[in-house]
């Protein structure tokens, strides 16, 4: 069956062990998970997760049902085919930079719409708030240009339903 990228927005009880419960569900049933981000919401008793994964239709239906039957899960919303805004925070640190490299990185930042957050004589730190796909493309570009000199940390996508325009 066709593998497809999916997004789930999950409202859960903000309690000890709930993250373990959700990640345990994925691992115990061999469901693949691309990323998971979680944080408290405007209601401190509720946490909200954004989960991105790749699966076929049938497995995805099972995943949603299994999440729904967990007592700790308050609501499951499928973001796969609805208009959403989705962004991921990523830092890229580039080391051993020459002056020429630095100039190049500043140009890249301008073109890709990411910011230079910090730099020293030889190191530049980029802050990239983009979609997961754009971040992935940027990593590919940077690892090709600065072989073995980049360090990446990604936060996992965070998504919210769109109001009138969408971006994912």
């Amino acid at each position: 069956m066709e593998q497809k990228k999916r997004y789930i927005c999950l409202f859960v009880e903000n309690e000890i062990g709930v993250l373990a419960r959700i990640s345990g569900l994925f691992s115990s049933k061999s469901y693949n998970m691309d990323s998971l981000s979680v944080g408290e919401t405007e209601d401190p008793t509720v946490s909200r997760m954004t989960i991105s994964l790749t699966s076929d239709d049938r497995t995805f239906e099972q995943i949603k049902k299994q999440l729904n039957r967990s007592v700790e899960v308050i609501k499951v919303v499928d973001y796969t085919d609805i208009p959403i805004h989705m962004k991921e925070l990523m830092f890229i640190k580039i080391g051993s930079c020459s002056e020429k490299d630095k100039a190049e990185i500043f140009r890249i930042a301008q073109v890709f719409g990411v910011s230079v957050r910090d730099y020293s004589k030889t190191t530049v730190l980029l802050e990239c708030i983009q979609t997961e796909d754009r971040n992935k493309e940027l990593i590919a570009l940077m690892s090709e240009m600065f072989v073995n000199r980049i360090e990446v940390v990604r936060g996992g996508g965070v998504a919210i339903e769109a109001v009138s325009i969408a971006e994912r």
Partner: protein, 574 residues
């Protein structure tokens, strides 16, 4: 007024109607036990091992329909519950398991007898939680009982640290539940029922497939009405057997790996399969792609996640089995399917299940004797050949019920479950059918049966083998009986030539073992002695009887669908 956590605990049990508690003390549960010492309304049962304890609570819950309640200490007390939790989870048995825990300020310090039981149990139970604050204790216990018994029932674990047990706090025990993430379905979708009725109108070869869900929701009576009104034949899974009287003319038999030919053939040939309260486990379906290929499939289940998981379903209905059947009943009429019904009857007559190819005292003959001698009965089993023979040959119905570990397949379940069942149903004879392997996994519970003065009858089918695995080794591994012989000793030839005369004697001697527990032990080797043994056991009113049946060493369970094969590829006999 403020009261201690332990006081609220006991108050909660009483409000939930708990009169039987399966409990084993320890350092982190001692305060709860101290509180229970003053109680006269809760009978505390002290099994001899926590695994036996939880299976007993499970047997009690299955026999009575009430929540089974366990109380054990932290660490090993808690980990010994694990197999029992998974057993109950698979078979949808409502349990609430309380575990003591080290003081909250010691959690994470690797304190003595500390274990993260919630972390261990999380994936094998319906819900698991640690009480971190005294003020949450009442609400958590209330929720635990509600979650355990509603929807698809299951085990819930509540971990209570020692300092929470002794802390003072509100005496309030909530009288209502509101869990925002847990709203089990309570209705039946009328439109979907209409679709089923239309399919039933059109079908030429319809059949009901009934699983454990029908028994859990006490829908046996309405199911029987539905079957009689519609004239549609019915087959069961092992867990569903007895939902309709097995002597009913429209009852076909068990489906699946060790089901009868007629059922498996009916599944293969039917054009409408209406399944109620079963999740299409691999033991039921055989090769999934070839299961009921010619049929439109209706699936009624309380658990949305069971639907279209293993089998692609045409009409899904998320509902309690009884409510769904009650919704179908008024719209049901007598369908014109007499040819189909007589085909099934013919298959059933042409391919009966029996052990006629074996001589002497076969399990079939023993079980027939049980059918004949006990008009009312609860039977528990272990897992393996004993369980399969029981599921094949037992007559079941409203007055004869089978309790067995169907999903997890837990050896050692039978004896403690029989003890629990007996505690819950005084007056009903309780009999356990076990093998010589499984019975030794929780044999220590003989002591519990003796001290609780319970006249359970423990039948041990002794063939000196782990018979079900041996059977597979015989059929599919070229008779290489790798570590399945329980008579084998270190001094035996490593790959034994199976010369019976030279075989070492069996250990233990079950008759002496029973006697050492102050129970009665009887060894039966001949068919004509079966009845007398049961009569003696039935005459005992205050203690257990162990009857060891020496059976043919290499008798097999047939028919059989080999693992990974389709239902129409079954082996009928040796």
């Amino acid at each position: 007024m403020e009261i201690k956590g332990t006081e609220l605990f006991v108050k909660a049990l009483k409000e939930e109607g708990v009169d039987t508690l399966f409990a084993y003390p320890g350092g982190m549960a001692i305060d709860l036990f101290d509180q229970l010492y003053d109680e006269d309304d809760i009978e505390v049962i002290l099994p001899r091992h926590e695994q036996g304890l939880i299976h007993a609570a499970d047997g009690y819950a299955r026999a009575t329909g009430n929540v089974g309640v366990c109380l054990v200490t932290s660490g090993p007390g808690a980990t010994n519950l694990v197999t029992g939790i998974a057993t109950a989870n698979y078979d949808s048995v409502p349990l609430v398991c309380f575990t003591g825990q080290v003081m909250t300020n010691l959690i994470g310090n690797d304190a003595f007898q500390e274990v993260d039981i919630v972390g261990i149990a999380r994936n094998i139970c319906k819900y698991a939680v640690t009480v971190h604050k005294r003020e949450d204790l009442g609400r958590i216990i209330k929720n635990a009982f509600y979650i355990a018994r509603t929807g698809k029932p299951g085990p819930v674990l509540v971990d209570i640290p020692k300092d929470i047990q002794v802390a003072m706090g509100s005496s309030e025990y909530p009288d209502s539940v509101n869990i925002r993430g847990y709203k089990p379905s309570t209705g039946v979708h009328a439109g979907q029922i209409k679709r089923v009725m239309k399919l039933m109108d059109q079908a030429k070869r319809p059949v009901f497939l009934v699983g454990g869900g029908v028994r859990i929701s006490h829908a046996g009576e309405v199911l029987t009405q539905l079957v009689e009104k519609s004239g549609i034949p019915v087959m069961t899974t092992i867990m569903g057997k007895g939902a309709i009287d097995t002597k009913h003319p429209l009852y076909i038999g068990n489906i699946g790996m060790h089901g009868n030919f007629a059922s498996n053939n009916a599944a293969d040939k039917c054009d409408l399969l209406i399944s109620i309260g079963t999740r299409f486990s691999d033991r039921v379906t055989g090769t999934i792609s070839e299961f009921a290929q010619n049929a439109t499939i209706v699936h009624i289940d309380i658990d949305p996640a069971s639907i279209s998981r293993n089998i692609k379903v045409d009409v899904p209905i998320v509902a309690d089995a009884r409510l769904a059947i009650e919704a179908m009943l008024p719209h049901t009429k007598k369908y014109k399917i007499s040819e189909w019904v007589s085909d099934i009857k013919k298959w059933k007559e042409e391919h009966p299940i029996n052990m006629n190819s074996y001589e002497g005292m076969t399990p079939e003959k023993i079980i027939h004797k049980i059918n004949e001698m006990f008009p009312e009965l609860i039977i528990t089993t272990d897992v393996g050949q004993n369980q399969l023979w029981a599921s094949q040959y037992l007559d079941l119905g409203p007055k004869k019920r089978l309790l067995t570990s169907g999903g997890l397949g837990t050896m050692g379940y039978g004896l403690p479950a029989a003890i629990g069942a007996k505690l819950g149903t005084e007056g009903v004879p309780v009999l356990c059918i076990s093998g010589d392997g499984g019975v030794q996994m929780n044999i220590q519970e003989m002591a519990t049966a003796v001290v609780m003065e319970l006249p359970v009858i423990l039948c041990v089918f002794n063939n000196g083998y782990l018979g079900n695995v041996r059977q597979m080794q015989e059929l599919f591994y070229n008779k290489r009986y790798s570590y399945t012989c329980l008579r084998c000793r270190r001094s035996c030839e490593h790959r034994c030539l199976r010369n019976e005369e030279e075989c070492p004697s069996y250990t233990p001697d079950f008759v002496k073992l029973a006697e050492s527990y102050d129970a009665v032990g009887i060894r039966v080797e001949k068919e004509e002695d079966i009845e007398a043994a049961f009569q003696k056991a039935m005459s005992r009113k205050t203690g257990p009887t162990l009857i060891e049946f020496i059976i043919e060493r290499e008798a097999n369970v047939f028919p059989m669908v080999p693992g990974g094969k389709a239902l129409n590829e079954m082996i009928l006999d040796s």
